[in-house]
């Protein structure tokens, strides 16, 4: 009887350890080997900005609209292409998942006779300390006419990993440090 309990315990322990480990492993792989895409972030409504300790992101590519109507049970993928400035754009939408490094699963819904999409990467986790400054910096640099923020995203075999948020071409952390230095002076 005790042996059975130990066996069950080992299975539970493996399950509890493997889920977070697998979550981390998949991202580690994608961050190491995935192709880098730069996504320009879009203006946000300031009131909808910080919920807890993350910066809420939205993207230029969210404005893409498709003209093919999908079933509500379909998984919809956006096929990416790079524009002249080096930023990612949506080429087309499809229900077939390819194994290239340019497929991202998106949320899609039919509205006003066209297919609207939302990118799944809308939370950028920051520490409690940095949250207010990060939010302010992001909001100031994602205004209409002053879009200086973008994120780098790694894509590999359909897996997506959000890598870094850049403000004014600097990683968020470096940008915040530089701003804090300026204020001290």
């Amino acid at each position: 009887m005790k042996g059975l309990f130990i066996l069950i315990f080992v299975l539970i322990a493996l399950a509890q350890l493997s889920v977070p480990a697998w979550m981390a492993w998949a991202r580690v792989q994608t961050l190491a080997h995935g192709r880098v895409w730069k996504f320009k972030t879009a203006p946000v409504d300031p009131e909808d900005a910080v919920r807890g300790r993350y910066v809420r992101l939205s993207y230029d590519v969210d404005r893409f609209t498709g003209h093919e109507k999908f079933q509500s049970s379909d998984s919809v993928y956006a096929v990416l292409k790079e524009n002249a400035e080096g930023f990612a754009e949506v080429d087309r939408l499809t229900t077939e998942k390819g194994d290239g490094d340019n497929f991202v699963k998106v949320e899609a819904w039919w509205r006003n006779d066209s297919e609207s999409i939302a990118f799944p990467l809308n939370q950028y986790w920051v520490t409690e300390q940095d949250a207010p400054a990060a939010e302010k910096a992001y909001a100031e640099n994602s205004r209409r006419g002053q879009q200086n923020a973008y994120v780098t995203v790694r894509v590999r075999k359909g897996d997506v990993a959000l890598e870094q948020l850049y403000i004014n071409n600097q990683p968020l952390r470096d940008f915040l440090r530089a701003e804090a230095q300026k204020e001290k002076k």
């Binding site: 509890q16 977070p20 979550m23 981390a24 991202r27 939370q123 950028y124 520490t127």
Partner: protein, 451 residues
């Protein structure tokens, strides 16, 4: 008395018993009696300790999260990943320790189960932060609940089961807030709910009178109520009223059937069912409850929506089955108005659907007025029945609940209808006087009757 006993002294005394018997100071029968007496004392005082240990474990888990999450921006991703696993590895080591060395200790099992729950949550959220993993809070809850449920069984943790039930409720609400794009599907709730049912049955068979079993049944009843609400919303079939009537009647009857009491009082499960019946009856007495949207026939229907539709009939059928069993054995036990609630609601639903759909959703029809009128008569009957049964059973609480129902019905109608202030005032005076007179009579009767 339990609190005034020195546990160390008890342990010493119990250790002395074999020697005392051997020396002939007391008989072995007496020793067994003493042993039995202190065993009951120990289990009683244990409950408080279990709660304290569990709360302590929860705080410990939360404290670790806060310490780690504070100021770790300077650490590399790899270091953060290792740190994220530390609480979980600690918790699993404790689980192994409890299984091997403290398997019979309730406080150890309960506290370690809760600590493991907290550690799983910590590991997932810290990994999510480190690798910028996306996903709603509802997704997080789902993974967390599924990873934690086996520990409830392994450590036989009643508090773990209660936390799991609360987690299910949190998942239902989190999902509703996270998905604004498509109508959220609540069917995972029923799968996850089924996972906890065998544990509840084990507890029930082992000791249905225990506080752990009672706490778990309260949590499950609340989870079922919330789950049924979201399921009825998802099914879009206008059948929520019958589903809720069936659910509360089934809970009421199950409480009477499966938690019988020697005295005249109701078990908490039956009581919750009864309160549910009363509240639902008052809600359905409003005319606006009977505006039928007929959404069922709009648009495509998916398999899950049809399953939700079928689930709405599960509890009314269970209520009928329980009533039939109860009727064949001891009919005097339950209140008739409570038992026929699903049938009355079904008649109301049929009446409300007789008319054509009005042009605007908020417009009433003759049929919705008829259904509401039926429900008003029913709620009045229910209130009077509870009042009379309460007075007969000398139960002040039940009699007052009956009065409360009647008063709620009266007050609802005052707000509903266009009566003058004088009429409303008179109505309130009548309701208030009713409360006073009934209570005075009951207390007089109580003090007159030999206790």
């Amino acid at each position: 008395m339990a609190g005034s006993i020195n546990r160390r002294a008890v342990r010493w005394l119990r250790g002395q018993l074999p020697e005392l018997v051997a020396a002939g100071a007391i008989s072995s029968e007496n020793a067994a009696k003493i042993e039995h007496h202190y065993a009951s004392v120990e289990t009683r005082s244990n409950f408080g300790f279990i709660i304290l240990a569990t709360v302590g474990a929860a705080f410990l888990g939360a404290g670790i999260i806060l310490i780690i999450a504070h100021n770790w921006d300077d650490l590399s991703r790899a270091t953060r990943t290792v740190i994220a696993f530390i609480p979980l590895v600690m918790a699993l080591a404790l689980v192994a320790f409890v299984l091997l060395r403290r398997n019979e200790s309730r406080p150890w099992c309960e506290a370690v189960a809760i600590f493991d729950f907290a550690a799983v949550a910590t590991a997932i959220s810290l990994i999510s932060q480190t690798y910028q993993i996306q996903g709603s809070f509802a997704d997080f809850m789902k993974v967390w609940l599924l990873l934690c449920i086996p520990v409830v069984y392994l450590l036989r943790s009643a508090f773990g089961a209660v936390v799991y039930a609360i987690g299910l409720i949190v998942w239902l609400f989190a999902r509703e807030m996270a998905f604004f794009v498509r109508s959220p599907n609540p069917m995972f709730f029923w799968v996850a709910f089924l996972l906890i049912v065998p544990y509840f049955l084990l507890r029930y068979w082992k000791d249905r009178e225990s506080r752990e079993c009672t706490a778990l049944s309260i949590a499950l009843v609340i989870a079922l109520t919330v789950g049924m609400g979201f399921t009825a919303d998802f099914a879009k079939s206008d059948l929520g009223c019958i589903a809720f009537a069936g659910l509360f009647t089934a809970i009421y009857l199950a409480g009477i059937r499966f938690f019988p009491r020697s005295d005249d009082r109701l078990h908490i499960v039956a009581l919750l069912g009864g309160i549910g019946i009363g509240v639902t009856a008052i809600c359905l007495s409003f005319e606006s409850s009977w505006h039928m949207t007929r959404e069922f026939f709009w648009g495509e229907r998916i398999l899950q929506a049809n399953l939700a539709f079928a689930l709405e009939f599960l509890f009314p059928l269970a209520a009928i089955a329980l009533a039939a069993i109860g009727f064949s054995r001891n009919r005097a036990q339950f209140s008739w108005p409570a038992v026929v609630f699903p049938i009355v609601t079904a008649i109301g639903w049929g009446l409300a659907n007789l008319c054509d759909k009005p042009a605007e959703r908020w417009l009433g029809t003759r049929c919705s007025f008829t259904a509401a009128a039926l429900m008003n008569c029913y709620a009045l009957w229910l209130g009077i029945d509870i009042l009379v049964r309460g007075i007969r059973a000398h139960s002040v609480a039940r009699a007052n609940f009956g009065l409360l129902l009647i008063a709620a019905l009266a007050i609802s109608r005052f707000f509903d209808s266009e009566l003058s202030f004088v009429t409303r005032g008179l109505g309130f005076i009548v309701v208030g006087a009713g409360f006073l007179v009934a209570n005075v009579l009951m207390f007089k009767k109580r003090s007159a009757s030999p206790a």
